[in-house]
Amino acid sequence: MGKSLFQKVWDAHTVGTIADGRTQLFIGTHLIHEVTSPQAFGMLRDLGLKVKFPQRTFATVDHIVPTIDQDAPQDPLAAEMMQALRKNADDFGVTYFDLASGKQGIVHVVGPEQGITQPGTTIACGDSHTATHGAFGAIAFGIGTTQVRDVLATQTLALEELKVRRIEVNGDLAPGVYAKDVILHIIRLLGAKGGIGYAYEYAGDVFDRMSMEERMTVCNMSIEGGARCGYVNPDAKTVAYLHGRPYVDMSDFSATAARWLSFASDADAHFDDIVRIDAADIEPTVTWGISPDHGISISENIPDPATAKTPLEKASIEEALAYMKLEAGTPIKGVKIDVAFIGSCTNGRISDFREVAKYIQGHKVAPGVQALVVPGSQIVAIQCEQEGLPEIFRAAGFEWRGAGCSMCLAMNPDKLVGDQLCASSSNRNFKGRQGSSTGRTILMSPVMVAAAAINGSVADAREVFTLEAAAAVA
């Protein structure tokens, strides 16, 4: 019996077993940001500990950074956190991609673009969307702040091994169906808690054909399905993406690439579970409720609690509809929106902005809708500028901002007000997620967000734009 990528990486990184039975796992790369790291450095100071391998930790500022006047936050608490990260990086000798570096951005965008994210490695970060890096065939997962301390001090973590569920999606995605729709569909099918105890391996020809950036979109939302990590096996596209990136050792690249590819799951690997999905069943998908598994296709009606199979499901639908102020049994299409947000670690990469820019020319954001575009990193922003994308977005009535997490979690000034409804390319539709305790979120792909912004209401992008089938990207 062969091994899965998860098993190979886990075995290779196992240092030993601690007394309670958990594995002590070596963490190859540690990524940190300003929100979940200051307390960990405080703990190090209290315990008199150093950072064991400072060269294996990389810092950036993303969660609280404003998207206008980025280096001068009006909020004194935000300024304090940015200063704390500067001091901690300096005191402990950690590389910091700060605002002046030209490399700052959302930690899950920065890692891959710097080539820090590599196949066959373990990656941890005090952020649940760390699974994004699984797109490269890394085992990458979110950790708490005490665990950030553990990685800083020892470059290891105490962890329970996960089971592996292989999710195979085969067939052709229809035009207008994006990576975001694939993962929203998977979460809808398997549930927000379906992945507890599992790593997800995404396999099948749909993922084979996806670009690295599309694979990142899928892996990013593994945690929304309850899976702490998710990955795609490395292939020629993975190798080509990493070739020549700043942190890739190019001295014997063919040997490096061969080692990376050797981590891919064996053909006869054991999986604890296998789920098969037909790509033809996936439609542009949007959420209607307050959990990422509250998904429906754009042509469906909002669920009716009367049709719920269990009392728990009925209560859950009722709670969600009451919060979302939506009516059971009515179409989701046509629900009026107030805000449109394109960005986040899920959909804030160059390919996302290129794809939207292809369709919005000649269109205008509907009156009364605020539409925000936030690139995932400074490098993405520069790339967009070189390609003239900000002008295209501005001409269509979108606001073009500086890089960061922004309205995905609204720790900076970009927030919903009152019960505003936001069409969002981000990853979570939890109550209050976008900065207002009554604010409402509908998750969807960036092109669907653009369609909603232009229509002023949730729309089928296939009806607003003339969409082409996604080209296979090298």
Partner: protein, 199 residues
């Protein structure tokens, strides 16, 4: 570094209804603008305890009958979403010492165990039984018995619960914070770093 073992926790309990209670609900992101965890207690469940005008809602944590409860009882997938340790930190500082739920999200679970806050899983029917018991008599004392994996009430409930063996062992042996054990394997860590070409 032997810490205090946690064989049992006992206290009055409060039931918080709903599935998939996420960590944004437990501690809204705006309260994470801090460089220490001190003071997070008052913000636990803030946006469901207070409306947008700052007026108290009908949330169970505002119900005087459950004031001072130290055991939280919940449904499925408690603590899902963000990895923020601020969530269990805020519950701990609010005054909770243990959680009984149908199921937990993994990152939240690990974060809670590291704070010596036992989280045990009970069947849906048993969660209902505990809820009914504490709502009928909020002075009911609930004990989470980590040693024997039982939850008992002063009113006579005695139900089986589960938790991963590693978490149980860590709590019972006072090794819920693993830092010293991780540090002790320093030479093996160095060897692994070299073996895997990380240094």
């Amino acid at each position: 570094m032997a810490l205090e073992p946690v064989p049992t926790v006992t206290g009055r309990a409060v039931f918080i209804p709903g599935a998939d209670i996420d960590t944004d609900r437990i501690i809204p992101a705006r309260f994470m603008k801090c460089v220490t965890f001190d003071g997070l207690g008052e913000f636990a469940f803030y946006d469901v305890r207070f409306d947008e005008h700052g007026v108290k809602t009908e949330h169970p944590l505002n119900d005087p009958r459950f004031a001072g409860a130290s055991i939280l009882v919940a449904g499925v997938n408690f603590g899902c979403g963000s990895s923020r340790e601020h969530a269990p930190q805020s519950l701990r500082k609010y005054g909770f010492n243990g959680i009984i739920a149908e199921s937990f999200a993994e990152i939240f679970y690990g974060n809670s165990t590291t704070l010596a806050m036992p989280c045990v899983m009970a069947s849906p029917a048993d969660i209902v039984a505990i809820r009914d018991a504490v709502e009928a008599d909020p002075t009911t004392e609930i004990t989470i018995d980590v040693t024997n994996l039982r939850v008992r009430s002063s009113g006579g409930l005695d139900i089986p619960v589960t938790m991963p063996e590693s978490a149980r062992e860590a709590l019972l042996s006072g090794r819920w914070d693993p830092i010293q054990e991780l540090l002790d394997n320093d030479s093996q860590i160095d060897a692994k770093a070299v073996e895997l070409h990380y240094v």
